[in-house]
Symmetry: C2
Subunit: 144 residues, 2 copies
DNA sequence: TTCTAAATGAAAAATATTTTCATTTAATAA
DNA sequence: TTATTAAATGAAAATATTTTTCATTTAGAA
């Protein structure tokens, strides 16, 4: 279950960040769709209805949201810096390579792989990055 | 088993790319160590001994090597565009978050997860991105 | 050794990101 | 409500990254 705008706003406030109209708008842009968006794409969306908002504010807001885990940074979808709204708990993403739609999923089943890796290499493993990429149903049809 | 400089050079030639001294040097920079390197880091290394080599050549060479699957692009290690020498077959990477050392591994065991995902979402899955990040033994000791 | 398509380097252009700083404002406290 | 203040904003400049362009050079085939 993805985080709602309301929830993101509440968490921002809990961490004593101010809830400015600009931040609301950025959060809304990200939370109100299923896609992943680059900073530039977010800027463009937001700018249409709020022309006074600056690029710097986008970047600053993204940094805060990412740091609090309220948005996730994706890598497999072409751009290396592309964001989607987060969800509670450990989860990963399935991304449509055509339309950028993002589906969350849980249950990555990597515990055993991680243990094996750790014992074989001596690494203390801190985390992992997992994304699946593919074509969603709509885009499969479209591709004929 | 990682690709050797010799092997990378041979594959380049097989695809009728010219084996220029500049390309050799870039390949060597990447193949001769265990780390992942950004284009800038590669440029700096290469530039020390070959000051005439240009940034553009680095980028162009990286693009070719990546396209042929001779180098892998990593994401979890901080930079979003960082390369390490490839290995034959399906494999993934374990990265030290402190020293950038990269360990390859096989057996990601994601077939079942992929099938589940595919049947639940209707996606035609094209691939996945998997990286583990952690601290290697040397860096664990160093961190006391 | 010659030839030619491919590759190179330098410079400029385009794009992306961060820093700086004067001004504005959200949210607390009075 | 209003005053206060630390935090946030926007604009501009600085920096970093990546791509394009083009005249010159060169690897490798003939």
């Amino acid at each position: 279950m993805r985080l709602t705008e309301r929830k993101v706003a509440a968490i921002l406030r809990q961490h004593s960040y101010k809830l400015t109209p600009q931040r609301r708008v950025v959060i809304q842009a990200i939370a109100s769709n299923q896609d992943h968006l680059t900073p530039t794409a977010i800027y463009e969306r937001v700018h249409q209805h709020h022309p006074s908002i600056g690029f710097v504010t986008i970047y600053r807001t993204l940094e805060i949201l990412a740091q609090l885990g309220l948005i996730c940074e994706l890598h497999a979808g072409g751009s290396c810096r592309s964001y989607t709204i987060s969800a509670p708990g450990h989860h990963h993403h399935l991304i449509c390579s055509n339309c950028s739609r993002v589906i969350d999923f849980t249950g990555c089943e990597l515990g055993k792989v991680e243990q094996d890796l750790s014992s074989k290499t001596g690494f203390r493993i801190e985390g992992h990055l997992l994304e699946f990429i593919g074509l969603c149903q709509a885009c499969q049809r479209e591709a004929t």
